[in-house]
């Protein structure tokens, strides 16, 4: 039976993690795993891995793993509490920073900061593409899927949803 103690533990955990999640949920996944499995014994390691895979596969941000952990631990109420706690602090911070930023963004120093941050961001996006491809491309078919999707999304205006549908069919039909 899950009482307010569990909900409070969920809330405190994710309120703290919210402000540490630089670069998104992936930065704090190991800590979420440690808290859920080793500290609070809410679930087994295998259960956590399954929740993580579902969050990855589902549409929406990967941070949805937090919603799933809350749901697993304390049902719908747990899902709501965990999600709100994870989003609240970073929401306030982001809103405040962008309000301030809009006032200054045409100042020379602000533009220099933007020009400096832009290539760093490109490097990070390229890195996540590489790391994700390395894990997913276990055979020639998967590699071809990555290359084909990249080419179609870069050079054409075709909606990539069609590629994803085709990919899912290829996958279900049995490779990997």
């Amino acid at each position: 039976m899950k009482g307010t103690g569990t909900l409070t533990a969920l809330a405190i955990n994710f309120l703290v993690l919210s402000l540490l999640a630089f670069g998104g949920a992936n930065a704090v996944i190991p800590e979420i795993q440690r808290q859920a499995v080793e500290v609070h014994h809410w679930m087994s390691g295998a259960q956590f891995a399954t929740l993580f895979a579902i969050a990855q596969a589902a549409p929406g941000p990967n941070v949805m793993v937090v919603t799933l952990v809350g749901w697993q631990v304390a049902g719908v109420l747990g899902a709501v509490v965990a999600t709100a706690a994870m989003m609240g602090p970073s929401w306030v911070l982001t809103f405040a920073v962008f309000r301030a930023w809009d006032k200054f963004k045409y100042q020379p120093w602000c533009m220099a900061i933007q020009n400096g941050l832009a290539p760093v961001t490109v490097g990070l996006v390229a890195s996540s593409a590489f790391l994700l491809a390395r894990d997913a491309d276990r055979d020639v078919v998967a590699f071809a899927l990555t290359a084909a999707t990249a080419a179609i999304a870069y050079w054409t205006r075709l909606n990539p949803l069609w590629v994803f549908a085709a990919a899912a069919i290829v996958g279900v039909a049995g490779f990997g």
């Binding site: 549409p59 020009n115 400096g116 996958g171 039909a173």
Partner: protein, 191 residues
């Protein structure tokens, strides 16, 4: 389907209403398989044209340096830019509401059917396609940067890629080192 996108960029675009923000961020989340950012870029830059390529990149760059998922921060920023506090709430609920719902349904389904091998194969194929989608996005946001400021941008892009993707340095440290250096280059090469 909204596969056809007008190539012309000269059409003036009205600034989005609250329901536009909620609705279109929800549409982004509904189709965003394997990572939301490429789908958000497609919607915001190519389809709705609420942001230019450069505005998207600048907003995303700032989001990288704030805690929280980049796409959630991006929705807050875009909402706030067009409609202030109500706008940021509308976009935020749009991007998160549906995925919260879907993911719990999927969790319930998976605990019943997840052991079928076909499900695992499908998931793997989708993530292969997702990595291609992110690769294309890297190319698209890099293109205007490399055209306009190649000497300043290219070394930073390569250095960050090597540090994060190949050497697997922790992200916070890479950001702490790369950002000041890159901003310094920006100041030095200014004007």
């Amino acid at each position: 389907m909204t596969a056809e996108v007008q190539p012309s960029r000269s059409v003036p675009v009205q600034s989005p209403t609250l329901s536009d923000l909620f609705f279109h961020f929800m549409l982004i989340s509904a189709v965003a398989f394997g990572g939301v950012l490429p789908w958000a870029r497609r919607k915001l830059v190519e389809e709705r044209r609420w942001l230019t390529e450069r505005e998207f990149l600048d907003t995303l760059a700032l989001c990288q340096f704030l805690p929280g998922p980049n796409i959630v921060n991006l929705s807050i920023a875009v909402g706030a830019r067009f409609r202030g506090l109500p706008g940021s709430i509308a976009a935020f609920l749009g991007i998160l509401g549906l995925p919260c719902f879907i993911v719990v349904i999927l969790g319930a389904l998976y605990s019943r059917y997840g052991n079928l091998p076909a499900v695992g194969g499908g998931l793997l194929a989708v993530s292969a396609a997702a990595s291609g989608m992110i690769l294309a996005m890297a190319g698209k946001i890099a293109t205007p940067l490399l055209q306009r400021r190649p000497l300043e941008s290219a070394p930073v892009i390569v250095a960050v890629f090597v540090a994060v993707a190949l050497l697997r340095f922790p992200l916070p440290w890479v950001l702490l080192v790369a950002a000041p250096i890159s901003i310094g280059i920006g100041f030095w090469r200014r004007g």
